[in-house]
């Protein structure tokens, strides 16, 4: 913790202004105590201002120490009382010593000092109280903001980690099967093999390079998905076909990167993997009242598959939407007449 006054120029100015104000008050009080005005009061006031201000500034260090070391209230109070007594005594005595040192010829100073002595102790204690109050207020505010900052940092860290985890990972099945297709194509159709390696590389680059959660346009998401679907088409041939029906004005809408990928992966997994018939994946996007509606549908074989899906893909997409858009985006799935449909609603001007 830095010194609350010395570390900040504005605070230092305020500090001196407050002291000036207090010195004026002090002058008035001593005038009342002494019964008449004396020229000694001015140098006395200035010197006391400088001394107590110095003592006040250095009091910060013992305070910080007390605050950090002892948590028991009685110990803190004892510490404060002792240091207060020391500070006030020092101030009163040093003040007198310096005035006499600088102005040895002023003869009524001894009388003035004696008359105002109880008031000096009083103002000393009062000012000391103010300093304690100010410093402790600063310490508690500092701790509070420190705590808030820590919490906010932790929260954003948790959110970031969660978003990273939710980012769809490349399915190892997809990767190794694609590589197997490439291996096969190098013999039967080297041209196509090269084409596939390039597509696979581009897809991987897109999936891996976007480390941070920078939003991307629907256009680039769709371009990447085309790569993915093209690769799957090489694997499955006529069994997989696609269709796109995208309104031009949707293309620049921003969304989290790789948001749609798990939905297509599901369409492949539950559609193409499980069916002997050919599967058609249809993608539509249109704008309705400030929202973009993305619809992905595919036909599937309604016979039960070996194992139930865990639903992880859909849950992750829904959670990402929630983290990004709060409650402003939504996802919905329907199964009807052998057609599986996913509807996504995303605000167009959110990101």
């Amino acid at each position: 913790m830095k010194h609350p006054v010395l570390a900040n120029r504005v605070r230092l100015i305020v500090w001196w202004l407050v002291w000036l104000f207090m010195t004026l008050g002090q002058l008035l009080l001593y005038y009342y105590a002494y019964g008449r005005f004396t020229t000694t009061a001015i140098p006395d006031g200035i010197i006391s201002l400088i001394i107590y201000s110095g003592i006040g500034l250095s009091l910060w260090y013992p305070f910080r120490y007390f605050n950090a070391t002892s948590s028991r209230t009685t110990a803190v109070i004892t510490n404060l009382v002792v240091s207060g007594a020391v500070a006030v005594t020092l101030w009163v005595l040093i003040n007198k010593y310096f005035v006499l040192l600088i102005l040895p010829k002023v003869n009524d100073y001894q009388a003035y000092w004696e008359a105002t002595f109880p008031y000096r102790i009083g103002t000393g204690v009062f000012i000391y109280g103010l300093i304690v109050l100010a410093y402790y207020l600063f310490i508690s505010l500092y701790n509070l903001s420190e705590k808030n900052a820590k919490e906010a940092k932790l929260e954003s860290l948790v959110k970031e980690t969660e978003l990273k985890m939710l980012r769809s990972q490349i399915n190892p099945h997809f990767l190794f099967n694609s590589l197997n297709s490439v291996s096969s194509l190098t013999i039967t159709d080297p041209e196509k093999a090269r084409d596939m390696v390039i597509k696979l590389s581009e897809f991987m680059r897109y999936a891996l390079s976007k480390k941070d959660e920078q939003p991307v346009s629907l256009r680039s998401e769709l371009e990447n998905l085309r790569l993915y679907l093209d690769i799957e088409k090489v694997r499955f041939g006529d069994k997989l076909s696609t269709e796109e029906n995208i309104e031009e004005k949707c293309l620049e809408t921003k969304m989290p990167v790789m948001l749609l990928q798990p939905l297509y992966e599901n369409a492949i997994k539950h559609g193409v993997y499980e069916s002997t018939e050919s599967v058609r994946i249809i993608t539509q996007a249109k704008i309705i009242d400030g929202y973009i509606e993305i619809t992905i549908c595919n036909n599937y074989d309604p016979a039960p598959s070996l194992r139930r899906g865990t639903g992880t893909g859909l849950i992750n997409v829904a959670r990402r939407l929630e983290l990004f858009y709060g409650n402003k985006a939504s996802i919905k799935t329907t199964k009807e007449n052998g057609i599986y449909t996913v509807n996504l609603y995303i605000p167009t001007d959110f990101l």
């Binding site: 590589l179 297709s181 194509l185 013999i187 039967t188 694997r235 499955f236 002997t276 070996l306």
Partner: protein, 250 residues
């Protein structure tokens, strides 16, 4: 010498092509058929009785694992799979070999040689499927269907239609809404793979679907009997009664 009659069961065309390409130079191997899904693969094996099968695991309609479950006469199997690392461990001891896609030719030829030796010497793997399946580690999600053979017909029974499962020596009898079917599997497999929210093991020999229960009555000292909607009565052991209590909160 007779040629080794081989079938390739694999749903991706390029994956079939590479196997055929690797086999081209081996004049003692004859590829008699290739299939793109589990069902046609099963039919082909049953009718053509090949010596050797290249079998993918992830396939439509019937997976390679299910296909193996219902085969009565097993040819030598070489698994070709992309990433089923658990399956790999499980099948290590049973199949002749397993190939991880993409596989190099050298590795492929090794597998074929192993299979050829087995077929030529007649020391084929005769380990029962139940033991093989018992080696399967616990899966991430419960099964959704089981595959049974009835005569020559293969039926896929959705899990919702299963009423209860009864242990019968090395087999289990699965009672479902369309009748009953004998399977070469363990009770442990069903206990671990049926959806745990729907099925309870009430006895060493019985796993029952909770919604099939009509009532439970005391039967002798410490034991109970479960009466099903169908009127069937099943014994409930002490441990089974405890499971039921936990599951149904009574």
């Amino acid at each position: 010498m007779e040629k080794i009659r081989t079938v390739i069961i694999e749903d991706e065309a390029p994956a079939r092509e590479i196997i055929k390409y690797y086999l081209k130079d081996l004049d003692y191997i004859e590829v008699i058929a290739d299939c793109a899904d589990g069902f046609s693969g099963l039919k082909t094996i049953s009718t053509m009785k090949p010596d050797l099968v290249f079998l993918d695991i992830q396939m439509p309609r019937l997976t390679g694992i299910e296909l193996l479950e219902v085969l009565t006469e097993k040819p030598e199997i070489i698994f070709t799979t992309a990433y089923d690392q658990f399956a790999i461990r499980a099948f290590e001891l049973n199949a002749v070999d397993y190939l991880l896609k993409p596989f190099p030719k050298r590795r492929f030829l090794e597998a074929v040689k192993k299979a050829t030796d087995k077929i030529r010497t007649g020391t084929g793997n005769k380990e029962p499927v139940s033991q093989l399946l018992a080696k399967m580690p616990e899966p991430a999600s419960p099964v959704n269907r089981i595959v049974v053979r009835k005569g020559n017909a293969i039926n896929l029974i959705p899990v919702e239609q299963i009423k209860y499962v009864e242990a019968q020596d090395d087999y289990v009898m699965v009672y479902h809404s369309g009748g009953k079917a004998l399977k070469q599997q363990t009770m442990k497999f069903y206990e671990e793979n049926l959806p745990k929210t729907d099925f309870v093991r009430i006895h060493r020999s019985y796993i029952v679907k909770v919604t099939e229960l009509k009532r439970i009555e005391p039967y002798g000292k410490d034991t109970h009997v479960a009466i099903l909607q169908s009127g069937d009565k099943l014994p409930v052991s002490r441990a089974g009664y405890k499971h039921l209590k936990e599951e149904l909160n009574f």
